[in-house]
Symmetry: C2
Subunit: 228 residues, 2 copies
């Protein structure tokens, strides 16, 4: 069998007898490799078999460390959620800190292709997910929301920015920076769709920082102005 060069950070080559040693597999190493595959080829580039090949083993070996593909998805997400920067309590206005947190959340999900869709697809409940929810809840309560409203709001906020990351993800993998949607909108008949026709440019406006900030404000203003 041909030997692939191991790429995981957690793999230290220890010479043993006459052939290169194979470091033991580990859950963290599997997650590393999975994230690496994701960065290189998106969701389409990630499979258990590819992770196994990358780690120079067979697909069955991974099942010692992860229950199944979905469990790997969970672990990947929790790892990424752990990278989200949570502003220190008491430094600056709660609203700015919450905005910063959600901006970091969105950035992390966009940092590697596939993550956005994972975030929408898999129901995460790892420790880093809880850390995120706890921090957002605290900020909303600090902002004056009552508990029940804050509980619904944290869901709405995480869901919306996950959805944004997922949408950008789909565009990216579908090769759609200026693709089918653009064509469809531009070819639209002014009689049947007068409003779309008049607002084509605005509809196609890229997701820049201004739009992200607007979305943030829409959700926060909405949550602040809407009692249960």
């Amino acid at each position: 069998m041909e030997r692939k060069k191991p790429s995981g950070v957690h793999r230290e080559i220890v010479s043993r007898r006459d052939r290169p040693a194979k470091p033991p597999l580990s859950r963290e190493g599997i997650i590393d490799t999975a994230l690496d595959l994701l960065a290189r080829g998106g969701l389409a580039g990630l499979s258990l078999r590819k992770v196994a090949t990358e780690l120079d083993t067979g697909p069955a070996s991974l099942y010692v460390y992860i229950a199944n593909l979905n469990a790997l998805y969970d672990l990947i997400l929790d790892r990424v959620f752990g990278e989200v920067e949570i502003p220190e309590t008491g430094k600056g206005a709660w609203r700015e800190r919450l905005s910063a947190l959600l901006t970091s959340y969105t950035e992390k999900l966009i940092s590697r292709p596939g993550l956005g869709r994972l975030a929408m697809t898999t129901v995460a409940s790892g420790p880093k997910t809880l850390r995120l929810m706890e921090a957002i809840l605290a900020l909303l309560l600090e902002g004056g929301l009552d508990g029940p409203r804050a509980a619904w709001a944290v869901d709405a906020l995480l869901l919306h920015f996950s959805a944004i990351a997922s949408e950008q993800d789909s565009w990216r993998e579908h090769g759609n920076p200026l693709g089918t949607v653009e064509q469809a909108l531009e070819k639209v008949s002014p009689e049947d769709y007068p409003n779309i026709h008049a607002l084509t440019k605005e509809l196609l406006e890229g997701d820049g920082a201004a739009r992200h900030q607007w979305t943030l404000d829409v959700l926060l203003n909405g949550v602040l102005n809407t009692p249960r």
Copy 2:
């Protein structure tokens, strides 16, 4: 019901008194079958090969009518979007009509398992998608928004309710009405996650009509109160 085609045996002259005559393949028929498979088995129950089997043919035959699996997803979505009820113009307040439209949109996406995730995953741009966007744009303009704001708002609204459908979809297929998330939240340590611990009940509250209405109000209030 047992209409498996014996593969390898000649089949054309066999009379089939036990079932209706096989309709010729067509794009619409393929969509019908795909929606049927979706209704029965969710996204996991839908594949081109299963559609082909259901239509009593081989997988290659479908490629005369659809370019690939993603194209089928597009067609499925556009079919479903066509079912969304768009309130008549001028009947009642614009906000009520917009709420009704978005509620219908959400209901249709939840009507069959898999649709919610499809809506988040595939970039739709068919005629029924345009019809939806046009109607929402018109309602937002009627509500007094300027064009650029309405353009961003229609995206945010469709995205958010697609995300809600997708989330419920994931719960359903993951068999998670009261599953891992619940357990994770209930087992949370009061010291590390005081807010989650205090609000466990509120966080787990089902997505009833009250919550849907609240979400609707959050987004509409937010959009109305947030200029670009």
